[in-house]
Amino acid sequence: MAELQERLEKVVLRLDLMGMRVEQALADALRAIKDGDVEAGQRVDLHDSVIDREEVEIEQECIRLLALYQPAAIDLRTICTIIKVNSDLERIADLAASIGKRTKHVVEDGIDFSRYDSFDSLTETTTDTLGRTVRTLRASNTTGAQGVIDSDDLIDESYRLFVRSVLDTESKKTGGVEAAMTMINVAKALERTGDLCTNIAEDIIFLRTGDIIRHADAFDEQTT
């Protein structure tokens, strides 16, 4: 096998591992916030620097591969996809870290997420979508990628429901605004995670087909 393909295989494996780390980080952050485990939340935040370093190293290797081998076709699409997915995974890890950090406020303000069914629905849909994103990335599977894209609507809907019920409930309480802000920020991080999973799924479709499906509406408008 050519050296480029060997090096590409290694970097693809590193990205897969990064995906698993990010999945774990989000799961840990959500467990911390639900259980009110401040230390576990801090651990997620501390672990984020490991993911940051990994992101930089993956990007550096991609730049080296572009410079040294001038790849084409599937090799070129693989490297472009890795660069973009790598960045999106790192941003999901940042969101997980931000949720982890908020555990402290959640405990201090006595926030209880368990009172909101819509929060469970939001966390379950988001973690399931992220898990499927990571598996789809590993299998480089367009059907799975389309499924991830479709899930984003569910996440958005869960987010809207949760925000509505938080506003309805917390606004009636004294000092409820701060608690509502914290809860909505956590939910917003999950909603953004869904968006980033969609980006990754779109990149997987590009990798397999060479088609950029992002913002297709904008191009349709231009041609009509």
């Binding site: 050519a2 084409a72 076709a73 599937i74 070129l76 060479g210």
Partner: protein
């Protein structure tokens, strides 16, 4: 109450930037086949060396004002096809052509074709620069003289124009009487291009024109190719994938005498439709 909006960007500057951007040349990689009909039409063309086929059933249209690259592993028939366009293969004994290969609507393998005229219409540049052991001036004037041009002022005009077109005028204008063999390799190759242009061809065939040149000389030839395509139909055979990707608008991939894939270069190099093409351009075989 309507709020008065304070512009956050300098509109004049934005307009200037927009105008500057609009004035920039079109993106280098073509997205569609150039307008106008094809200059070269190959329809089921085969060329045999004795019983063995060098190329088989080649069907492709080559368009004007564009560079078409032919790529493929050694022995795939790319040079055979290129040399068929101006019948250079006739010099090899026992060659036989079937199918149709036409330049500007004229079947080049028609018995009535005048080979001298054909080769004036379809110029060729070879792998190694091969200037005649004559002066720079005489190298370029050689073809026009064969065409019967004798008037010195007309020849001067042709020599100057061709040297300009081949981006060699500035370097050679004061040394036109100097032997062409005294030029550097890159300059010699540009001289060969100037010589090919002197007979007023419509098509330029280039058979690995940079394989004997250093990267700087290669860069100048590639720049020249991009400039020349506004006036000429250029077909280039190259082993250098990056060169094909850089200079061509369309790319044809040949393998074992067959045309495997032919399309816009930007598509062939980013998303080839055929597995063999993909394996070749990514270095997995060939």
């Amino acid at each position: 109450m309507e709020l008065e909006q304070t512009p956050v960007v300098d509109v004049t500057e934005m307009k200037q930037l927009h105008e500057f951007h609009s004035a920039l040349p079109e993106q280098a990689d073509r997205t569609e086949i150039p307008s106008g009909g094809p200059v070269i039409v190959s329809d089921g063309f085969c060329l045999y060396y004795g019983p063995k086929a060098g190329v088989r059933d080649i069907t492709m249209d080559i368009y004007p004002r564009a560079v078409t690259a032919i790529i493929g592993p050694s022995g795939c028939g790319k040079s055979t096809f290129l040399r068929s366009i101006n019948r250079m293969n006739d010099l090899i004994p026992h060659t036989r052509a079937t199918g149709r290969l036409a330049v500007n609507g004229q079947d080049v393998y028609d018995k009535r074709v005048n080979l001298v005229n054909l080769r004036q219409q379809v110029g060729m540049v070879f792998q190694r620069p091969n200037p005649f052991p004559k002066s720079i001036y005489d190298n370029i004037a050689y073809g026009p003289r064969l065409q019967g041009i004798r008037k010195r002022s007309r020849l001067d005009e042709i020599v100057e124009k061709c040297l300009h077109d081949a981006a060699l005028w500035e370097e050679a204008k004061d040394e036109l009487k100097k032997s062409a063999l005294a030029l550097s390799g890159g300059q010699q190759q540009r001289l060969c291009i100037a010589r090919a242009l002197a007979t007023g061809p419509k098509v330029l065939l280039m058979d690995e024109p940079c394989s004997a040149l250093d990267p700087v000389a290669t860069g100048r030839i590639e720049e020249l190719i991009r400039k020349l395509k506004t006036d000429y139909t250029i077909v280039i055979v190259t082993h250098n994938m990056q060169q094909a990707a850089r200079v061509s608008d369309q790319t044809a991939f040949f393998c074992l005498g067959d045309l495997i894939e032919y399309g816009m270069t930007r598509d062939v190099f980013t998303n080839p439709q055929n597995k063999q093409t993909e394996d070749y351009i990514t270095g997995r075989f060939g």
